[in-house]
Symmetry: C5
Subunit: 92 residues, 5 copies
Amino acid sequence: MQLAKVVGNVVSTQKDKNLVGCKLLIIKKIDEYGEFEKYSSSSTAVAVDSVGAGIGETVIVTQGSNARYVYGDKMAPLDMTIVGIVDEIQIV
Amino acid sequence: MQLAKVVGNVVSTQKDKNLVGCKLLIIKKIDEYGEFEKYSSSSTAVAVDSVGAGIGETVIVTQGSNARYVYGDKMAPLDMTIVGIVDEIQIV
Amino acid sequence: MQLAKVVGNVVSTQKDKNLVGCKLLIIKKIDEYGEFEKYSSSSTAVAVDSVGAGIGETVIVTQGSNARYVYGDKMAPLDMTIVGIVDEIQIV
Amino acid sequence: MQLAKVVGNVVSTQKDKNLVGCKLLIIKKIDEYGEFEKYSSSSTAVAVDSVGAGIGETVIVTQGSNARYVYGDKMAPLDMTIVGIVDEIQIV
Amino acid sequence: MQLAKVVGNVVSTQKDKNLVGCKLLIIKKIDEYGEFEKYSSSSTAVAVDSVGAGIGETVIVTQGSNARYVYGDKMAPLDMTIVGIVDEIQIV
């Protein structure tokens, strides 16, 4: 999974029926110190929120086919889901 | 998912039978300010349109195996689908 | 999907049984103007041809798990397939 | 799979129900000499531990949909799992 | 798929039960001329050998969920498999 910061949200009325009702947040990938990832491919992305994340929060993001499993086995055409809100990052 | 801009389309008569009838659009990945992603791997790509997107529009793109779920469970050999047209991006 | 140019082919006699009989072509990812993608991760790759593509042609490539669907539901250990030959790229 | 070093862990109480009880470790991708991968996309990531890995250890990480198979066929929304602890890397 | 060179192997006794008995080789991605890919994300990786590849050989590597299909439909938590040994690369 990726660490990311929620920086905004997307308004989209004309979208796939399986995404209707989904909260679409804009996230930017960060490293363990909260710095935006410079060389990261697709450092900015759109994620479906599944845990009540808000703007400015640090979150955990799952990508790829398993991202849809927050909705059971629904055939949702999404590839990125926020699956956790970070309380604390402990680096040794 | 990715934010992207539709910049053109592809004409391909000799293609997989499951792609016949699909509208193939050329997209370029963008960040939250509409800037093309410099370091992004595969910043230019071909996406199947599923929501009536047009040239110049900002869209939401799903990649990977879930991209085929816009067609139910059809075994379509595609890996990128436009799943939404962006009305507005709100950045805080 | 990706735009790519076919630049060669691979000869491999010792390979997985499900790849026997597959035409393995070497492709390089390109952008909408035919330029090789500089920052692209894995800009050079090996793709299974499923539409009769030849050396020098511009093609459409599908990556990931859906790439095997050109062979129905066969459990083929491949992750990249040529699914279309490009007649024309129209950029506005 | 990727070689990586465990550099910390993440505390997240508000997370998907299928991740409750999972040990979430912070990993950084490394090359065969233990150097952090500079150009790597998402060089910092969050992985679920499935083999008892500890901080400072070199590990093997599986990404993508197969990452969930450490839990049988459970529909867990995760995309990265530590599947082995490295005893030794032998480079010729 | 990717072209890669086998540069070493990994010893890991504490690993997932489905990886026990697998030969874990270290590979580095290369381009069509055998040069290591500079900008490639995760240019160094760990692959399961399924065709008897040895150190120094040029190989074809499959990534992602289809990588497990060398073992039929076994739920193996792996994401990279060597599926062919390269005899020759023909570039035009």
